[in-house]
């Protein structure tokens, strides 16, 4: 198959979403990485004389109810959101893929593990996460575990459905006829065929996890509220939402832009990677 030369217009139309979202995401990652340079104040420094200030020259986005600089908190908050989101999704993809392969390949595993995963899926995600955190106790590590568990069933199901169709293919049967081990068939024959749905799932999962994590922080069950994070900022500002809506607004905007960029990235990647949609 020869690669067709694309007109610049068609090329742009196909990749525009990925490129645009990529630029936005790059900015956000840069912001997280260079947070100490960008931030104007120490995000943890309380200042009781300057509480709840409106945006001014000293504080671009104003201060919160403890007098901390909002802009700096949002800049530092991106670090927490991104680190948690990436860690959670990497863990969930790795574990979920292994589970999915196991479940799709072996019937006995399907009966046991899939029932458990479906049980998790049956509960509303937030409620389940809150319950899990209440049981485990709060802390970044607990939050990571909880968010990973919440993400597992979807990924395992995605991989399982791929495995179910691929394992009936004749190249798999041929490998079996040659005496290939189950592990070899799973990782060398089946897994490479699952990569594009997984890449898509990973990108859109990053956005979703930021959202879930922010919701949990907003509900007060996520992180230590002193650590700057977007959900926490909204949580602390919610009492003043009628008087000073900008406090919620800026953090909400940060979440919205990031999640939107990840979703558009995921959608764009799906259109490029999925040959059926071409």
């Amino acid at each position: 198959m020869e690669k067709r030369k694309m007109k610049p217009g068609a090329f742009l139309r196909r990749y525009i979403r990925v490129i645009a979202a990529g630029i936005v995401l790059l900015c956000i990652f840069m912001m997280a990485f260079f947070a100490p340079v960008i931030a104007t104040h120490d995000p943890m420094q309380t200042d009781m004389y300057n509480m709840n200030q409106l945006p001014n020259e000293e504080h671009i986005m104003g201060t919160d109810c403890y007098g901390r600089d909002l802009f700096s908190r949002i800049v530092y908050g991106s670090r927490m959101s991104l680190i948690i989101s990436i860690t959670v999704n990497v863990c969930a993809i790795v574990i979920g893929t292994c589970l999915g392969l196991l479940v799709g390949y072996f019937k006995w595993a399907d009966r046991i593990i899939m029932r458990i995963l479906e049980g998790i899926r049956a509960l509303p995600m937030i409620v389940f996460a809150i319950t899990l955190i209440t049981v485990l106790g709060s802390g970044v590590d607990k939050l990571l575990i909880c968010l990973t568990v919440v993400n597992l069933p979807g990924i395992a199901r995605l991989v399982r459905s791929q495995v179910l169709s691929i394992r009936e293919k004749e190249f798999v049967e041929c490998a079996k006829a040659n005496g290939a081990s189950n592990l070899r068939i799973m990782f060398k024959y089946i897994l490479p065929q699952c990569t594009s749905p997984l890449i898509i799932r990973f990108t859109s999962g990053l956005g979703n996890t930021i959202l879930t994590q922010a919701s949990l922080s907003f509900l007060g069950v996520g992180l230590d509220p002193r650590i700057p994070n977007w959900g926490g900022i909204i949580n602390e500002a919610k009492n003043l939402v009628m008087i000073q809506p900008h406090q919620c607004g800026y953090a909400g905007l940060a979440i919205m832009i990031t999640v939107l960029a990840f979703s558009i990235m995921g959608d764009g990647l799906r259109d490029i990677l999925d040959p059926r949609l071409r």
Partner: protein, 330 residues
């Protein structure tokens, strides 16, 4: 063709359980039901039958890709069913299979070189891919493909070329037995002959034994030494090509043979038309499987017929053989 037995299958059965409700009786799809046949070293045995008559299931059972429900299979005198782990893996490289669909037989993300190297790596004949390279070149040359193809992906090839790659892969471990499961039915007619000729050439060169599954009777006549006719999971007739094509005894075989289109023949008066559909293999007729569609069926056919040797090596499973079907037809 010698008289040395390579594969001997005795009373092989493969029943697939049907999903049942709680207290229901367990039912089975009897895909292969009591088939016994012998494969001699160096011969080509054709397996012919309608779609769904269990040809492919039989082939997969003989390779132990699926476990038979019952019966015995010996390979080169050794019991194949009892074999486990290492011993079985040692045998696997001696038998290979070529599937019908060359498109799904090749892993779309592997390069041709990797695809052909895989059987050698799996069976631990070679340790690294680099060690396999000379053999890969040799194989590509053997099936008539260019050496430069090793770094290409399967989607860059046509159906015929893909089937050549599949054959090269099957030959990688130097097998004795090659089961060809309708290897040419997915190819168009012009390429079909090339692949068939290639198979014949390879058999001569490498002294291969073929089990050739097909529903194309003219291909089977051209390629095979012996033919087995299957219907609803059972063998109806087995014999040499001449015995079957010149002197078919079973009414089903006769009907099949009369359905071969012939050049220049315009009237279809000589055709034997079978009525009705093939019964469900989950609920096959008792006794002779073919009796619901047989022109000569009598009350005796409700009993299960035994295989009768009408000529040396020519077995027919039919009650009417003693009476002589030929005379009835006349």
């Amino acid at each position: 063709m010698s008289n040395e037995i390579l594969v001997q299958a005795t009373h092989v059965k493969k029943w697939f359980p049907i999903k049942k409700w709680f207290f229901e009786k367990q039912n089975y799809v009897k895909a292969v039901d009591d088939v016994s046949l012998t494969l001699y070293r160096g011969e080509t045995l054709g397996i012919v039958g309608e779609s769904g008559c269990g040809k492919s299931t039989l082939a997969r059972t003989l390779l132990r890709l699926i476990e038979p429900t019952d019966g015995e299979i010996t390979y080169d005198g050794k019991d194949l069913i009892a074999m486990k782990g290492k011993e079985l893996r040692g045998l696997r490289k001696r038998m290979q299979i070529v599937f019908q669909d060359p498109y799904s037989s090749l892993h779309p993300r592997m390069k041709i070189g990797q695809i052909i190297a895989e059987p050698m790596l799996i069976s631990k004949l070679k340790k690294t891919k680099a060690e396999c390279m000379p053999r890969i070149y040799e194989l590509l040359d053997m099936v008539g493909l260019d050496k430069t193809y090793v770094d290409r992906y399967p989607h860059e090839f046509s159906g015929g070329q893909r089937q050549r790659i599949v054959i090269a892969r099957a030959l990688a471990t130097n097998p004795e037995l090659m089961i060809c499961d309708e290897p040419v039915s997915a190819l168009d007619v012009s390429v079909r002959a090339q692949v068939l000729n290639l198979l014949e050439e390879l058999q001569e060169k490498l002294n291969l034994t073929y089990m050739f599954i097909s529903h194309d009777l003219s291909v089977v006549e051209h390629l095979c030494d012996r033919v087995a006719i299957m219907y609803l999971g059972q063998l109806m007739e087995i014999g040499t090509v001449d015995q079957i094509y010149e002197n078919a005894k079973h009414p089903y075989t006769q009907a099949l043979l009369s359905a071969i289109p012939k050049v220049g023949q315009h009237d279809s008066s000589g055709r034997i038309l079978l009525e009705g559909d093939i019964p469900s293999p989950a609920n096959p007729p008792s006794g002779c499987r073919f009796r619901t569609r047989c022109r000569f069926a009598t009350a005796a056919c409700a009993e299960k017929p035994a295989a009768v040797e009408v000529e040396p090596g020519h077995f027919v499973t039919c009650h009417l053989i003693c009476d002589g079907v030929d005379e009835k037809e006349a």
